[in-house]
Symmetry: C2
Subunit: 387 residues, 2 copies
């Protein structure tokens, strides 16, 4: 093999993503106690920053755990027992939210979309019309497993005409794609720390709109001690959390949000979109078939050309270029495992990393026998990124 | 302005260069005392690694200071008082070594080469023939100020036929370009920590061959307490240094050398050459005139096209892309200030960073009014780097 041209470690999976040095240094500071004025100040600053990020005047709760923790908290706290949940899935994560309601025995109206496609608004409207006892809707804004974006604004419009509370999985959307929680009328918006939030895994976030807060007052939801959002909301009003928070992550998230504000959230959205466009154009130039018909700008997926092995390809990208990229996943209604690979555009990643990913991918596709003229991907990306 | 596509901080100057996270973490460890077995073990490991890097079976001394400190130590310790020094210069750094001998009143035979050109071996041979009382020769392997490489192997061959000790400025050569201290017969080889050594500034290194060690036994050189290499050589034999060493830097350098050995020194040379080739080809595709007729692979320089202001251009590269690149320098016999810019290929830098630098440079040249078809640089670089 020739000498490696890439050797820096780059985590180019759609979560976890790389963390900026300023954030790593903040998290490396000596521990402080969480029941102190010092921590309270940090926590309040974080909460205010989160509300700005979520584009809401309401509270955003910071819950120790993963995005799944936060989503389960929203699902269990906001559903009215004895009613139905409309659960929209077109990939691994949409199916997970169905699994959670399945676990708790909540009756579901499922809309299962073919993997790689976005849900049709007509189907959502029809389901809402048909079932008047739907109390919550779950939808994934950016379905990470299929690199697919859905029209959350449209779904929020439909939901707002009903009594159903819309819970949006914004885990690979918030901080990457334009999401306007208040303007679009999203009732509950969830994300996790290890995607566009530029933090290691360990924190989940739930933004609550007025209708969601009203719902918390109306129902006990599903019994859950730790994840009862009423506790978190009450603590939040006191600039606090009900249980010991991951202090280092809270500090780090505060610094990460300041980086986003320094760059400008709209600039982050624009950068993410541009990196995604450059990647799609470069993939297209190499003759790769997109994984999605409705591509998300936070992650790009493509089918492997015939004869390329997922395991060998990603091992070569890792071993020869120091880069982690993601493979495909398998679920109940779709199977991208071994068929698709995915590259991240969220968080602490820029055009340099994106070009590095294209170099690594093109080099290893050529090495695997795919006929591509050397330099095709970079030339195509250059046309998008330059000037 | 459009949203920044590059925002990570990248130090793409030809020194200082970026430092790998493993090295930064090593240097962040709690301080240890330097007169201990623990430090002695670290120091010996470093010394052995340095000898492998220098391709010598002899000692490499680690001196607190800059590359200039180490070079001055070699110059003052190795010159025989009352003899002449042959000092070859074709840029700012070659001229600095002339300045040092000027400071100490050492008589010089100067060969001043036009900036951007390599010294002609015939001129060196003629000077050595003409002046039988030359006791030292100074030459710059890679003249950073003009991005120019000289034929050090050829000069070493000429020097070996005389009694003159050859002192090579390898500050942007060692660890970047093929340098074979023993095989080429280099008597004294100097580098600094902040270039291809992947360390912050603060350490200089002097490798000593047999003839140089013999010379230290024959002469007192020029009086200098701190920089008397005899002290350093004596301490080195005892796995020690004469004065308090920068403990954190020594630890960090040890880790940095292990990274080089993990990648493989020949692979590092090959990567550096490839990144330089890609940059030269991309610069050529954009119509830029090279700063050097004999380009070094460790740094590439190019003249600004007409109408591009050095200050405004580098400020835009810094402010819009988070990237530091170097301008030109001015000396006694040349002036590249405001006329030339330079980009690094040494140390902790890879194809991703190089592509990022080309994106930033092309974008800001276009913004400055230079007519370049968008994507030209990346397409050209892609042809070199891929496949």
């Amino acid at each position: 093999m020739s000498a490696p041209l890439l050797f820096k470690n780059r985590v180019m999976t759609p979560g976890p993503t790389d963390v900026p040095p300023e954030v790593l240094l903040e998290m490396a500071k000596p521990i402080i106690h969480h029941r102190t004025k010092e921590f309270q100040g940090i926590f309040q600053e974080l909460s205010e920053g989160l509300s700005r990020l979520f584009r809401t005047s309401g509270p955003v709760l910071s819950i120790a755990g993963s995005g799944t923790t936060a989503f389960e908290a929203a699902q269990t706290s906001l559903v009215k027992p004895g009613t139905k949940a409309l659960t929209i899935a077109g990939g691994k994560f949409g199916e997970r939210w169905q699994d959670i309601y399945e676990t708790y025995g909540v009756e579901q109206v499922q809309i299962n979309v073919e993997w790689g496609k976005a849900v049709d608004l007509g189907a959502v409207e029809a389901a809402l019309n048909e079932h008047s006892d739907i109390s919550v809707i779950t939808v994934v804004h950016s379905e990470t497993s299929t690199a697919t974006a859905s029209d959350v604004k449209g779904i929020a419009e439909l939901a707002s005409k009903t009594d159903a509370i819309l819970i949006v999985d914004g885990i690979t959307a918030v901080g990457a794609l334009p999401v306007e929680m208040d303007a679009w009328g999203i009732d509950a918006l969830v994300t996790g720390s290890q995607k566009s939030m530029m933090l290691p895994p360990g924190l989940g976030f739930v933004g609550l709109g007025e209708r969601a807060i009203a719902r918390l007052g109306e129902t006990d939801g599903i019994a859950n001690y730790n994840l009862d959002l009423r506790k978190w909301l009450k603590s939040h009003a006191n600039k606090d959390v009900p249980f010991t928070p991951p202090v280092g992550l809270v500090r780090g998230q505060n610094v990460a949000l300041k980086i986003v504000e320094r760059v400008g959230l709209e600039n982050v959205w624009a950068r993410t979109a541009k990196l995604a466009e450059a990647t799609r154009v470069a993939f297209g130039a190499m003759g790769l078939k997109p994984a999605s018909e409705s591509p998300s700008d936070s992650v790009t997926g493509a089918y492997y050309p015939d004869g390329v092995s997922d395991g060998a390809f990603r091992a070569a990208v890792r071993d020869n270029h120091g880069m982690a990229i993601a493979g495909g996943q398998v679920g109940r209604n779709g199977d991208f495992k071994g068929k698709v690979f995915r590259v991240n555009h969220m968080g602490y990643v820029d055009a340099g990393d994106t070009l590095a990913s294209l170099l690594a991918i093109e080099t290893e596709l050529i090495a695997a026998g795919v006929e591509i003229e050397a330099g095709t991907a970079l030339a195509a990306a250059g046309g998008v990124l330059c000037g």
